[in-house]
């Protein structure tokens, strides 16, 4: 993640082993919901937790490769960039910086 995108404070999310490869988990902080992903390569990413199409938790969806699929209407995003990949999602997701420190996953929140 680019350091220049860090605008918030780092918040501890979980231990690295709490999230399996090619999976997603929900993380709530300060009244907002985030989705934390672990790619098939073991890298960690974070986006807003609610689908930009309608109000569904992405953490209830399916991670396939670098794609998160919304559980409600099967809209797909690239969770690394937040790019909306196929209808009914048309608006990109906001991504958030993630860092690993001593076996712990941190996300930069606003």
């Amino acid at each position: 993640m680019s350091e220049s995108r860090e605008t918030g404070r780092w918040v501890k999310v979980c231990r690295v082993d709490d999230l399996g490869k090619e999976d997603v988990m929900r993380f709530d902080c300060a009244g907002k919901t985030y989705a934390i992903y672990r790619s098939p390569d073991g890298d960690y990413f974070a986006t807003d937790g609610i689908c930009t199409h309608e109000h569904a938790h992405l953490a209830d969806g399916l991670v396939t490769g670098n794609i998160i699929e919304c559980p409600m209407h099967n809209g797909r995003f690239d969770y690394r960039t937040g790019e909306a990949k196929s209808p009914p999602v048309c608006i990109d997701l906001r991504t958030h910086p993630v860092k690993i420190d001593v076996g712990t996953v941190f996300v930069s929140v606003e």
């Binding site: 309608e54 399916l62 559980p71 209407h73 209808p87 048309c90």
Partner: protein
């Protein structure tokens, strides 16, 4: 009674799709909007996983049967055998109806290109243009049988018995509406409903696809004129009408007669046990409650979901006949009393979520 709808079924409210929400209310709404039976996350992940093999087996068998029945029907043309031959071909052809639905969810195959190619093929076979349908169907899943929000309520109350149970067995009522939508969208301006729920950035695909559909329709008509026979249309456009009765009955049982305006699929959606032949033709959409509660689950795993949650749901209907036997009298009663509906009672529910109006209790 009768011709005046008891509620305003035309689409209303925000075109954004979900119910109007303030930022502060979003979280609450997400949490409480729909009831979902608790299922272990690991188990859900397993159920969500896609594979190409089951879809290829199912669709491969379908194509073989379709081809075989088509060849048989071709050689039966001009003989008395054309009736059973084309009846079989039409039933198999119209199986594309629910196949296109499953494909619209992107769940039938792991490989997206297979899924998308077959989706648009099945959409064309059913004259249910695919780009438009995805938006319409998204709304149906967000607002299942919520009046004024769901564009796919098949039987608005009071139900049009003649239209639903007679004319639409052969899509005589709905078919022209579908065709009209294609021609309307092909002009470059979407229908009123389409403008309501399709974002402007997504409309061009619908317009161009609709023009392609018009081209196919004209092409088939020209083919019929050129050979001086309706035979070409018997293979590509008309089967969607003459082969449809079974699917009209199957589709009606999904929601008809059950509660409106409840955010619990157990009260508004049926699951029906069916024999393997019907399940194949209907691509397991008889597990309709499970499909609505977990739309990411591929068709070939819906029966597993059913086994996981059935103890938390009202009993499944034992047969298509059992569902029809409940549904048709309810539709007739709703002609006189549109507030009438069947109340489904989940196990352990002391007081079912009550929508507007009085109801009858399902046995």
């Amino acid at each position: 009674m009768g011709k005046v709808a008891w509620q305003a079924y035309s689409l209303q409210g925000s075109a954004a799709g979900a119910s109007a929400l303030t930022d502060a209310a979003i979280e609450d709404q997400v949490e409480t909007e729909w009831f979902s039976c608790p299922v272990d996350r690991k188990e859900l992940k397993r159920l969500f996983k896609r594979s190409d093999a089951p879809g290829l087996r199912n669709f491969g068998l379908w194509f073989v049967l379709l081809l075989g029945s088509g060849v048989t029907a071709y050689f039966a043309w001009g003989t008395i055998w054309l009736i059973p031959a084309f009846a079989l071909y039409g039933v198999l052809y119209s199986s594309a109806d629910q196949r296109h639905h499953e494909l619209s969810h992107g769940t039938a195959f792991k490989s997206r290109w297979i899924n998308e190619a077959l989706y648009h093929l099945c959409s064309l076979m059913m004259l249910r243009e695919g780009f438009f349908y995805r938006w319409s169907h998204s709304r149906h899943h967000t607002h299942t049988i919520i009046v004024g929000r769901d564009p796919e309520i098949q039987a608005p109350r009071p139900p049009d018995i003649w239209g639903l149970l007679v004319l639409d067995l052969f899509q005589i009522k709905s078919g022209p509406i579908l065709l009209g939508r294609i021609f309307h969208n092909a002009t470059g301006t979407l229908t009123t409903a389409g403008r309501h729920f399709v974002p402007e950035t997504q409309r061009a695909n619908i317009v161009w696809a609709s023009r392609l559909y018009v081209g196919v329709l004209v092409g088939v008509a020209l083919a019929c004129f050129s050979v001086g026979s309706v035979l070409p249309a018997m293979f590509i456009i008309l089967p969607r009408f003459y082969g449809y009765p079974l699917y009209q009955l199957l589709n009606l049982t999904q929601h008809t007669g059950l509660a409106e305006d409840v955010r619990d699929h157990r009260l508004s959606t049926r699951t029906i046990y069916m024999n393997p032949v019907l399940r194949f033709l209907y691509i397991d959409m008889n597990y309709h409650l499970e499909h609505h509660m977990f739309p990411m689950v591929p068709f070939y795993r819906l029966s597993e979901v059913h086994d996981l949650i059935k103890d938390q749901c009202p009993p499944a209907y034992p047969s298509l006949w059992a569902a029809l036997r409940e549904m048709v009298p309810t539709m007739l009663h709703q002609r006189r009393n549109p507030s009438w509906y069947i109340v489904r009672r989940p196990p352990g529910a002391d007081a079912p979520q009550e929508p507007i109006g009085a109801g009858v209790f399902a046995q």
